[in-house]
Symmetry: C3
Amino acid sequence: MIAQRLESLGIVLPAPFMPAANYLGCTIDAGVIYVSGHGPIAGGQAITGKLGRDLDLDQGRAAARITALSILATLQAELGDLDKIKRIVKVFGMVNVAPGFNQTPAVIDGCSDLFVEIFGDAGKHARSAIGVAELPFDIAVEIELIARLHP
Amino acid sequence: MIAQRLESLGIVLPAPFMPAANYLGCTIDAGVIYVSGHGPIAGGQAITGKLGRDLDLDQGRAAARITALSILATLQAELGDLDKIKRIVKVFGMVNVAPGFNQTPAVIDGCSDLFVEIFGDAGKHARSAIGVAELPFDIAVEIELIARLHP
Amino acid sequence: MIAQRLESLGIVLPAPFMPAANYLGCTIDAGVIYVSGHGPIAGGQAITGKLGRDLDLDQGRAAARITALSILATLQAELGDLDKIKRIVKVFGMVNVAPGFNQTPAVIDGCSDLFVEIFGDAGKHARSAIGVAELPFDIAVEIELIARLHP
């Protein structure tokens, strides 16, 4: 069903992000999946730079949407089927900001809106959306997530 | 009982914060409530500015206390009764800082102290208290929380 | 078994960190342990300063390793026996950065690598590794953690 929803929205997931070090893209504990911080990486290209200096709000929102797609790719690779997701529980959104840029909720909306487009009410989540000093490799956005799986 | 405790402390909760976008003030998953990042908003007014530039430590601590009240308002609205809270499990406190301000634990104490005033030992929690570059709309403090509910 | 592993690696845990305020070093909820943000403190000395200004990458990685040891000391004090840990589920690593330092994953590897040295596959975790504006008392690294306990 989610696969059909993605198709009807014209969404093709990128290749899943593969951590190079001693950590994992996600872990599952007692029916809860914890997804590592993901960035706006698609087709081997990362969106880098600081909001308010290198990127504007629309570019930031697009980066958050691509980050959400990268998270979905990880979930798809781990679970085999996105229908196993019962609920998006929590999103933590971190925006790479230049001094003075504080429209961080509007940036992370690019992620939240995608989850609701795809999962409907089950995509609505608790959330924080903050501006941080630096992100790995200067990526524009980093997002981590907690979701509940169907038994 | 918690309602009486609030009354005896002279505490009146503010109106709950209503997210304007595709996310929620909190989610409940298997008896755990995840509360979204909240700010120091009371009576329609937000406390804004950076610690170490616009606000001093006492003002920051007061902002963290107001943020905790806003969280309690969300919990009250969601649960109907704060007695349903068994335990505050985890607090993540983020302080809007100017360069060089690192007394972030003393700021977030304004939140932690309130929880212990109200809930006693059940209000004691794991915690981090960090300084971030920017918070939404320049609010002084943002706090998110995990709590366990009674069955 | 973990105690023997630590001995064979020549690792001696520091004294556990004792929070001075109304919060705890960790909380246990339904078999999940939430560890508060810990810093690189050993022998009463804290490693302070910003990566990219006061400390280089190797010093940051060493600080992350010491932070992981401080977390293990807290777990040991709380649980009595590190064999009670079934799995490291999630690590959130925060690096105290000067503008432009974004090799934060390589810093937090100092923590992740230690967990895998000690726990093997059970030490592999979901993770985020970000750069923040300020940390308490200017510590170089702060790390918090979620782990699953054996029943």
